[in-house]
Subunit: 287 residues, 2 copies
């Protein structure tokens, strides 16, 4: 099978490595708009060949849109338009999938497209705080969960192809509609990025002497602030496209912070203790 | 040298392991008020002998107060009182040190104690989100920073003993007064615990279906929320004793969250991007 990956960053690049290594793809084609990243991807050898967007869509059995979600919303209809222009036997079996962290805008962008059934919406829940082709690594997806959205809108054969692809990356598949996906990812992924960004801004603002941050930062601080290294190219469109859900969770979060603030300000140790004990319940859920 | 460790939790237990293993202590005595923890510490073999508080102070060359800071504030004057009652040649060279995360209350509690110079205030910046003797591990302190506070208030010989102890644990020593210590730790340690607690409360509140948290939580969420597992016994007194500094940092943090909230609510992508870019500067400081 020929797999074309559009966007050779952390996710696209890591997928390129493992799909080739594990034999899912005989050939991996890559598309990369950013010249520096393209040169890097070629140098590292992430893909077999760098091609144009058009060539990638025409040749590949599976096209993976691994670009920030703003760009994906623009590109997805273009891919389907190109499928529409192909002879029926040429486009049969062709699949385009995305790997984006928000789903409703994408779903809406092709809802009535005649080639909609060639598209499978998916979100592999794996990543690091680094980005670009240099960040790509084997095994990134191994053992993590992957969400397939609105699978009834896709051709069963297209869904099976994507399931096989994720199976080969050793991911567990979960099914959800796009709207639920965006609600849940706001809770467990988007909010943790926002809280990390805010933490970094707070500490950078307050600790003018950066030497102290470096000296005093123990493992706890580093792990809490880690996500604040995440790329603005990726996260600006996510926070924008998932605005309603993210704002809703942020409001709850700000309420909880204020409850903590009040308990500490009042010197109410019983209340502080009970808030911490309640927070500790996360132990049952997260290793 | 005989080292007596009061409180055989994560920090005390880990210190017991390495001070014995690396030869700093010929004998490690342990004091543990909690019967379950005491039985566990004996079973694991963290210390050579479990003794009473009094025996520990009388026999040990170095006493390490490794209890939550509220208990340490009560115990520290008791240790110094016991030194005061000893013959001068018996108490000569005896040192009591603490390992607590806040320092001003402790410093105040013995400021005018005639035996003050036997006490060295210190804070090893290492830990995990787990607690109790089961959490103790070799190498916990290795390569981390350790703060010694108000060293001019301690006898030079006592400071050297504590420096040697931390040197043996392979820690870098930083010197600071108690008041600066509490300001800086509020910025880089206490606030990250509060933000994690609030994140856990938010997600637990919102995600009624815990299965979804488990399924969707990728590495990013887990690392951001990790500190929310931290013990209320340890953190209630820290947040209480460092109240002023913690509230100050929380206020800045809440401001930053509100700035983010406003930019997202306004759909101001340029502002969101510039906040993320600013937060990214943490890259220069934290690996």
């Amino acid at each position: 099978m020929k797999v074309g990956i559009i966007g050779l960053g952390l996710i696209g690049g890591s997928m390129a490595i493992d799909l080739k290594r594990k034999g899912f793809a005989e050939e991996v084609l890559g598309v990369e708009a950013e010249p520096v990243n393209m040169a890097a991807a070629e140098k590292i050898g992430l893909v077999d060949r760098v091609v144009s967007f058009e060539e990638c869509v025409d040749i590949s059995d599976v096209v993976v849109l691994a670009v920030p979600v703003g760009a994906a919303v623009r590109m997805l209809p273009q891919v389907l338009d190109r499928y529409a222009a192909m002879a029926e036997d040429v486009r049969a079996g062709k699949v385009v999938m995305d790997v984006c962290s928000t789903k409703e805008h994408l779903a809406r962008s092709v809802k009535y497209h005649p080639m909609r059934r060639h598209y499978v919406a998916s979100h592999p829940m794996a990543g690091t705080e680094y980005s670009g082709p240099w960040a790509a690594m084997p095994g990134l997806f191994d053992g993590h969960a992957c969400i397939i959205c609105d699978s009834e809108e896709s051709a069963p054969k297209a869904v099976r192809t994507v399931e096989n692809l994720y199976g080969c990356l050793n991911m567990r598949t979960i099914y959800m509609n796009a709207s639920n996906h965006d609600v849940h990812t706001a809770y467990v992924s988007h909010i943790s990025h926002v809280t990390s960004f805010a933490l970094a801004l707070t500490v950078l603002d307050k600790e003018k002497d950066e030497k102290h941050i470096f000296d005093l930062a123990s493992g706890g601080f580093s792990s809490t602030v880690r996500l604040a290294k995440s790329s603005p190219d990726m996260w600006t469109p996510i926070l924008s496209q998932n605005r309603e859900n993210v704002l809703h969770v942020m409001d709850t979060y700000i309420e909880k912070m204020n409850a903590f603030r009040e308990a500490i300000a009042d010197g109410d140790e019983d209340k502080v203790r009970s808030l911490i004990e309640e927070a500790n319940r996360i132990r049952r859920i997260i290793r």
